[in-house]
């Protein structure tokens, strides 16, 4: 009985769930880049986004978790899929000359170096505990500090929307 209880406690613990969702996120992210079929890549990306959302939830910010799914998985990826399905994109053929390949290898090495530094924890101080609940998040975002930036972003988005409509429709 005690063993069962400890097992249950472990299964519902944050650490265990974090590793489960991280594993899914990494595996599906690998799927995004390794798949040749673009539609499968898109679906792998959706799985990645959803597991990242779960990790946000575990970090104590359900608001960001919900936004992650609503904005990225629910809106942006659907548009991606639409385009892929309507254009009927076929399997991607291996492309790129020697220059592209060597650039890719270089960037991969840089990324590996960064990951190595992050994993060994050299020169990295863990962030202080913070309150990521919906209310405190809103207080920061709509507070005096970011208010004008926030409003400027909204104007930018409206301008982009109007521009998109104008480009898409020749005659209004």
């Amino acid at each position: 009985m005690a063993g069962l209880e400890r097992l249950l406690q472990f299964v519902v613990s944050e650490v265990f769930l974090f590793y489960v969702f991280s594993l899914v996120a990494v595996a599906s992210a690998l799927g995004v880049v390794l798949q040749r079929n673009p539609i499968r890549s898109a679906f792998s990306l959706i799985v990645t986004l959803c597991s990242l959302s779960a990790i946000y939830g575990l970090l104590g910010s359900p608001f960001i978790a919900a936004l992650q799914v609503i904005v990225y998985a629910g809106a942006i990826m659907v548009l991606f899929l639409f385009v892929l399905m309507l254009l009927n994109v076929r399997r991607e053929e291996p492309s790129g000359g020697r220059a592209t390949r060597s650039a890719a290898i270089l960037l991969a090495l840089v990324l590996a170096g960064q990951l190595g530094v992050a994993l060994t924890g050299a020169g990295v101080t863990p962030a202080a505990g913070f309150d990521a609940s919906t209310a405190s998040f809103a207080r920061v975002l709509f507070g005096v500090r970011f208010l004008y930036v926030f409003e400027a972003t909204s104007i930018l988005i409206v301008a982009a929307l109007v521009g998109a409509v104008l480009v898409a429709k020749k005659e209004l």
């Binding site: 069962l4 209880e5 359900p62 919900a66 799914v69 998985a73 809106a75 899929l81 609940s133």
Partner: protein, 345 residues
């Protein structure tokens, strides 16, 4: 029994009960819809199997189980299989965060039960997020069958869902501002006391209630917004090529979504489990009774609309969504924000 084991068992029990109640309600609704619709059209409807035709859903289920499973030769196998699964998963996940009544003590024990599977801080947002994932089932089903009717139906359906999701989300905002919380139980608590406090009243969120209900009808593709499956043009829309149990799963997701919308309407606008009139008894299991009655009323309104209103044309649908519903919802947000900022602080 240790606390953690007890909590997990209770949670498991709640999930099992809720799933079965929903499945039962789904099969009941298929019958009720046909009978009520028949009544409205001066017909009898299915009344042969069992008393009042009550066993008709069981007969339908058995028939669908034994039907031949047909799959188009040119279909994309994994996507064709994934679409019904995504539809049902999204439908069930959405309803997992909705409360069905006030917390009560189980009879003969001292265990407090909250009739809700998960009480999330961001309940409403979670529901929006999960229902937005439900669009994938439509996109996948439409694309994977490799049939022109499915593809056109899928495109129409998803365009309709995007258009009305905006109005739906904006209708929530007023309700959230009045309650000051995303948590659905807080929103219900804000409508406590008299029936005059219900959000459906014109001086509360009447406009939002109308916008929400219309947008939700479009979101679950019910008449007058059922043109994704306008049979004269598109056979059956995105699930044209589905047969046997996969077809049944698609239907199930649609009905479960309809039940979710009814449950949400009850919680957000009709005062949830509050009776609203002071002479009605409260406490104990009464909350669940009031809640069930309201949900059945909203479900009846759904069927009533289907029996009354003709289908929109596609351009009318887009026009109505973008040029009528969204401005109305925006107006409601502005008005509510002004009232909350000036008087409620």
């Amino acid at each position: 029994m240790t606390p953690i084991l007890r909590d997990l068992l209770l949670m498991l029990l709640k999930i099992v009960i809720m799933t079965n109640v929903l499945l039962g309600l789904f099969s009941l609704m298929t019958l009720v819809e046909r009978r009520v619709l028949a009544f409205m059209q001066f017909r009898l409807g299915p009344n042969r199997v069992g008393p009042f035709g009550l066993f008709q859903p069981i007969a339908d289920g058995i028939k669908l189980f034994f039907k031949e499973e047909v799959m188009p030769a040119a279909a994309n196998t994994w996507a064709f299989f994934a679409a019904p699964a995504v539809a049902v998963t999204a439908a069930f996940m959405a309803i997992a965060t909705v409360p069905y009544g006030p917390p009560f003590t189980l009879p003969f024990t001292n265990i407090r039960v909250n009739p809700q599977i998960a009480d999330l801080d961001v309940g409403l947002l979670f529901i929006l997020a999960v229902t937005s994932l439900g669009v994938y089932s439509v996109v996948l089903a439409g694309w994977s069958a490799n049939s022109k009717y499915s593809l056109l139906g899928g495109l129409r359906s998803s365009a309709q869902m995007f258009s009305y999701e905006l109005a739906l989300g904006m209708a929530f905002v007023g309700v959230i501002m009045l309650a000051g919380s995303f948590r659905i139980s807080d929103i219900v608590a804000a409508q406590g006391g008299s029936i005059l406090n219900w959000n459906v009243m014109p001086w509360r969120q009447g406009l939002a209630a109308v916008v929400y209900f219309i947008a939700a009808m479009a979101e679950v593709s019910r008449t007058p917004f059922d043109l994704p499956e306008g049979e004269t043009e598109l056979v059956a829309g995105y699930h044209t090529e589905y047969s046997s149990m996969k077809f049944a799963l698609m239907q199930m997701a649609e009905y479960i979504n309809m039940i979710t919308v009814s449950v949400l309407t009850t919680n957000l606008f009709l005062g949830g489990w509050n009776p609203g009139l002071s002479f009605l008894p409260t406490g104990g299991l009464w909350g669940l009774v009031y809640f069930a009655l309201k949900v059945f009323f909203v479900l009846f309104v759904f069927i009533w609309m289907r029996g009354t209103v003709p289908r929109f044309r596609y351009d009318q649908l887009m026009h109505f969504g973008w040029k009528v519903l969204i401005p109305l919802a925006a107006l409601n947000v502005l008005g509510t924000a002004a009232v909350v900022a000036l008087w409620k602080r």
